[in-house]
Symmetry: C2
Subunit: 479 residues, 2 copies
């Protein structure tokens, strides 16, 4: 069935009419609904699952915020919108959306306050470590590559991961609070409603949607606009094959059942443009114990390819996009520790040569790499990749071993970053850059802040931030 019902004309029979219709109740949908309803718009959220939460509720709950939030100040960290802007422009991929990033950085302190006002609790304490899913209930965490090369030289580092106050996984709490806020707002939520098509008139404007509620099909008019907040497409194999085939090799797709690209496909059928559809976030968790960063990551040629101390949201990208998912983490007896997320041992050896053979690396390659690495490490330098001196030491104590970081054996966690093209107000654009009237989008059904080089919290961050803006814009259009 087609995703778009063309030539829709008023008057027609609608089962329901609202000002703002939000499709999907993850973090972007909740933010859009809260904002639109707070402005007096009659707001309805359709959620295809039995209840709200989506992928946001399965996440670590980190929200990437900065510029001097209350939490950053409470923890004694200085930050500014400008430093945050410099970091994001440098770190989030090849062609980040400058206008969105600028707004996001300038509005970040306010957005933190807004999240607090919705009831999301942030403990005013700092977790000493880097993680997208910190194990404590501390509120502030490093969730990116701010304090490693090359970003520490580009922008003054500050931790910007803001985590709801709960141990381990903040996503469920974040969404519980936001869904409770939606429930307490004038906005209404209709669960088990799947949007199946957009109604589009001959001017290209979106008038409303067709939605399925069990066996029933309902037509819902959206006077101000339809806001698509339906998530990404990491569960849609065909879309991955067509846009981001490497994602198919990752063992873990970070997704709720709704991440099948339905909202993106709805928009495309109506003539919307998509951008950065190849962009994916790929994590290779070399995390705790942190000392593992003293090891070296090598490819199939026995060569290093990145500073091992960078954020694990960047390690996966380096390994999968540029090394064909072929990587080993080499340690010696002095650096060996039992890692949290890696199990497979790729090989061991009493000497670099033996390990090289065990890993089936080209003769001499790993030996050569280790020799050069050790020579510089001894002097506290890493001129190839600029790993921090905190993690630089000679690897020369046998036995040697390697953890298997190939896609077949390690945990590569992936989700999609590309989607509908939107402007800073959440309006969906057509291929000429013109607004497709009546259609809005936010969250991972759009391309947002990150188009590569992922820092944790950017999706919950831009989803909620631009979700609010979309809600505001749509509410302003209500008739």
């Amino acid at each position: 069935m087609s995703n778009v019902i063309r030539d829709a004309k008023e008057p027609m029979h609608w089962d329901e009419e609202v000002d703002v219709l939000v499709i999907g109740l993850g973090v972007a949908g909740a933010a859009a609904a809260l904002e639109a309803s707070s402005l007096g718009a009659d707001t309805l959220v359709l959620e295809r699952a039995g209840g709200g939460g989506g992928t946001s509720a399965m996440s670590g709950g980190v929200v990437y915020l900065g510029g001097g939030t209350g939490l950053q100040k409470a923890c004694g960290f200085e930050d500014s919108a400008e430093e945050m802007f410099k970091y994001l422009m440098a770190s989030t991929g090849l062609s980040p959306d400058e206008a969105k990033i600028r707004l996001y950085c300038e509005g970040s302190v306010d957005h933190y306050d807004w999240l607090c006002a919705q009831g999301v609790p942030f403990k005013q304490t700092y977790y000493h470590g880097t993680s997208g899913e910190p194990p404590t209930d501390d509120g502030l965490v490093w969730s990116g590559a701010e304090n490693v090369h090359p970003f520490r030289e580009i922008a003054r580092p500050a931790p910007r991961g803001h985590v709801p106050q709960v141990e381990h996984q903040g996503g469920p709490l974040l969404m519980a609070k936001l869904c409770a806020a939606v429930d307490a707002s004038p906005a209404r939520v209709a669960a088990n409603h799947r949007c199946t098509a957009l109604y589009q008139n001959s001017d290209g404007e979106i008038l409303g949607v067709a939605a399925r509620y069990f066996e029933e099909e309902r037509r819902i008019r959206a006077r101000g606009g339809v806001i698509l907040t339906t998530g990404g497409f990491v569960l849609n194999d065909e879309m991955l094959l067509n846009h981001a085939p490497l994602a198919l090799r990752c063992g873990m797709r970070v997704a709720a059942a709704g991440d099948d690209g339905s909202g993106i496909r709805l928009g495309v059928a109506a003539g919307a443009a998509t951008i950065h559809m190849d962009a994916i976030s790929i994590s290779l968790p070399i995390t705790q114990p942190w000392a593992l960063k003293r090891g070296i990551l090598v490819n199939r040629q026995g060569q290093r390819f990145i500073n091992e101390d960078t954020y694990y949201g960047r390690l996966g990208e380096a390994a999968l996009l540029h090394q064909d998912g072929q990587a080993f983490l080499v340690v010696d007896d002095g650096t060996f520790e039992k890692p949290e997320y890696m199990e497979a041992i790729a090989g061991v050896g009493e000497s670099p040569e033996e390990l090289e053979q065990a890993l089936k690396l080209p003769p001499g390659s790993l030996q050569s790499t280790l020799e050069l690495y050790n020579r510089h490490a001894e002097n506290g330098s890493d001129p190839l990749f600029h790993k921090s001196t905190d993690y630089l030491e000679r690897l020369d104590r046998p036995p040697y071993g390697a953890f298997d970081c190939t896609t077949e054996k390690a945990l590569y966690a992936v989700f999609t970053l590309g989607g509908l093209q939107t402007d800073t107000e959440g309006r969906v654009l057509d291929p000429e850059g013109d607004v497709l009237g009546g259609l809005f989008a936010a969250g991972r059904s759009t391309s947002g802040i990150a188009v590569g080089g992922y820092s944790s919290g950017l999706s919950l961050g831009d989803g909620s931030f631009f979700g609010r803006r979309a809600g505001r814009t749509a509410a302003a259009f209500r008739k």
Copy 2:
């Protein structure tokens, strides 16, 4: 102005009615028009330039064909559709379209005969060398990576570049012959006609187009279908930024003026799906003298990253996509020759250490790389990247030098490979994979055979091959 005029209804006033309307007269458009008109369809081609040719006429003219063509046989090369299929499936990117490749290989011998029948001359001689633009008027040439690692181990190598009989650049001759064939056919060509919008009815079907002829706007009905053969989008900076930003760093965009993505945008506005929009062909011409392949390519870390003897359509991809466009071709006095397309010397030195310093590479890095390379080259092996023994020799005769292969200093030639999603019959698909009625496409306005790992001749090849199929399908729909 919008690219689509929705809710178009019959009867309406059309300035002209035809069976098949082709937009753009490059190789794909010529093939579509020839095929459609040969089947009795009243066929009109709109070309926005003053005459036909497009990017095809600016190309080397190589058509990638095989499976045992008359030319291959005349030159004494054995080939089969199966070996060609294996090579293309392995070499053309991460998720090639198997169905298209299968058809293309099986139909390749016939397609060669068809090109001959249109008057394209192929001298029945073999050029000993690898090139997308051979300097002689020989007909057959290696135009890919068939005979280097890893492809020589995957499929039995055969040269498949079929070049029109003219020295240096075959594209103008190829298009002169095909345009002459169109002129001699019942198909008509209207130059200086720019298609500005598609007329779409409420079922989503494309009825015809609006076209601008100087100051006049004309409406043209296409009873069987509109075939978009408008080329890629490498001249559209905004589309590159949104889909393939690395292309913006390449010094040479292989394009006629029409490659601004207009046909892709027309299709998207009407609800068509696009795929592989990030895919680009990037050449870094390390060509004649071939002996330069005896040098080694190193990145900013002084590491090798590819077998230097592979096809230059692959070298650019390796250097730009995976090494950030940072590469040097290192030679010694024994391997130095004056290259054809490289001018900038990045550095010289009396020793590897001096060259390393001149190139500002990390201390010891190039020395370490050369030491390992030389040790293996002495034994006639390259266990890291498997360069052919033809080009393996120690680099140890001072002085040493490096050609600058960074994007800033070397010739990176780029064009786009992504576009509208079509099936094997040339029909344009919507995001659900359903046919968008009345709309067809071929050539670089679509995603074709190659979605990476370019071999020369694939675009002229799939453009003409699937252009013919689109012409046939559209002709069959005429009412």
